[in-house]
Amino acid sequence: MQLYLPIAELPLNLFLLLGMGGAIGFISGLFGVGGGFLLTPLLIFVGVPAPVAVATSSVHIAASSVTGSLTYWRRRALDLKLGVVLVAGGLVGTIAGVLFFNQMRKLGHLDLVITVSYVTLLMSVGCLMFVESVGALLERRKGKPAVLRQAGEHRWYERLPFPMRFHRSKMSTSVIPLVALGAIIGFIGTVLGIGGGFLVVPALIYLFRVPTSIVVGTSLFQILLTMIVATLLHAVFSQAVDVLLAMTLVVGGVIGAQFGARTGQALKGEQFRLLLALLILIVGIRFALDIVGAPQDLYSINATVVDR
């Protein structure tokens, strides 16, 4: 059944959209990531113009993170305080990212530097997580449960000024590294047009040793706040939010996210980290394939703007 989308200006199959929304929603609920890095290219692939795909993905991400966050909230697996601190940092990073993005065009091939460092970052995080989680799984086989945090242990960045206690996350740390983390993620997200949830999740697990289930819930909450702001900004400035496309994706997405969140709760910490490592590696490889290897067609139509 074809449905004409009023802003994207093309008809798409209703069931295809529901299925796409559902699959990405499942991944979002399971890993605490937004899924925009998968949904946006998928939408562009089926013919949606790039600005509409980017803007409309943010609505889908907002909806799946609402349903995911609520599920984790009910299970007391969401650290509201931690989420707010990360969002505060994210705001700073986003503003810096927007300013940088506008300057970048004048600086030539800086996008090359960013893309290469981003691919490197993803691949190394993915590889490290993969090795660590496989090791932890093998340890568990031998009957030795892996412990990520020793009681009372604090790393140097956690001992910086402005300490804060996060009861739900069972940790106390300086606010500075948390705000910095939020800012870096916000910056990368704005420049590359991705949410960055899949960088927040490993950072909280490994750098701050927050329990996995709480990391996912908190990450979803942070994504929710970010995406609400992003949707409003897109609607006002690029006017590329397609409400019909968004709602179709959302119906699939919220259902998928429910199943994802449930599956996530049933996973052991090591299993979760292994699956996330694989996901991060896949995303890294996708970005790498974009720039390595000869393209099939050197030319492409990058944008079409109708004269009004």
């Binding site: 609505v59 939010v241 709602m247 139509i301």
Partner: protein
């Protein structure tokens, strides 16, 4: 027109000469009618088909012709700016190294004819009637030494990519001659064709020479719900954005209630 004037028979010549004196010799007239003047886009829209009915009108004063008529038409949609980008190699990786913008390019362009275009018109007539998207591109430099190889590649890519996207079509079977002077032309509009005004330029030819051109137009626009949404997104951007966010949050919340086990 007068160059093609011929007298069929000696006896008739006097009558014809008298007629010619009384009124100047006339060329053919072309009368067009469209199956629809408005293509309405609704939620179930998947493209449209428009038929142009045409009549080549002649009367006693019209000069006689030996061969059949040929019909060619070009359909031009709304124009826009198209950006073509090219990838280049930087060490081991491929990145965008150049892009060119082309303004005022018809975003839908279709060439209709009753038989292959090359059999109907030569290069001069083709350019005169602008039967091709290439005639809408900026002219290349006159001096060959100034002509840019880059520019050539980009122009070719633009035409090829527009063809692949369905924004540039050529159909030599889209015009059907019902009678020697009566025909229909079928315009197939893909769902991705932009909204706006479309102009049909239809020319009747004989022996490769254009005799008469007529124009007709139609409009493609969103109606009902789709028009409402597109309008709201443009004129009430804040309200539209807030509504979208609210809907997303509500649906996320409802899904959570529905799936709650406890």
């Amino acid at each position: 027109m007068s160059a093609g004037f011929s007298i069929p028979a000696r006896l008739a010549s006097l009558v014809l000469a008298l007629l010619a004196l009384a009124a100047p010799v006339r060329g053919e007239d072309l009368i067009l009618a469209l199956s629809t003047r408005e293509v309405a886009i609704t939620s179930t829209y998947t493209g449209a088909e428009i038929t142009v009915f045409g009549l080549i009108e002649r009367d006693a004063r019209t000069i006689a012709r030996t061969g059949n008529y040929d019909i060619v038409a070009q359909v031009q949609g709304p124009t826009g700016e198209v950006t073509v980008q090219r990838k280049g190699k930087f060490g081991p990786i491929w990145l965008t190294d150049d892009r060119k913008k082309y303004a005022k390019i018809p975003l839908f362009f279709s060439i209709l004819s009753s038989r292959p275009l090359t059999a109907v018109v030569d290069e001069t007539v083709r350019e005169k009637l602008m039967l091709g998207l290439e005639y809408f591109l900026p002219k290349p430099e006159a001096q060959p030494e100034k002509r840019d190889l880059d520019d050539f590649g980009f122009r070719n890519a633009l035409l090829r990519l527009r063809r692949d996207e369905g924004g540039l079509t050529e159909d030599p079977k889209s015009i059907t001659m019902i009678r020697p002077n009566l025909f229909t032309a079928r315009i197939v509009l893909p769902a991705t064709a932009p909204t706006g005004l479309y102009l049909v330029n239809l020319t009747v030819l004989a022996e490769g020479l254009p005799l008469k051109t007529a124009q007709a137009g139609f409009v493609v626009r969103k109606v009902g719900f789709d028009a409402f949404v597109a309008n709201a997104a443009r004129t009430e951007a804040w309200g539209y954005g807030l509504f979208t966010v609210l809907m997303a949050v509500m649906m996320g919340w409802i899904a959570n209630l529905v799936f709650r086990k406890d």
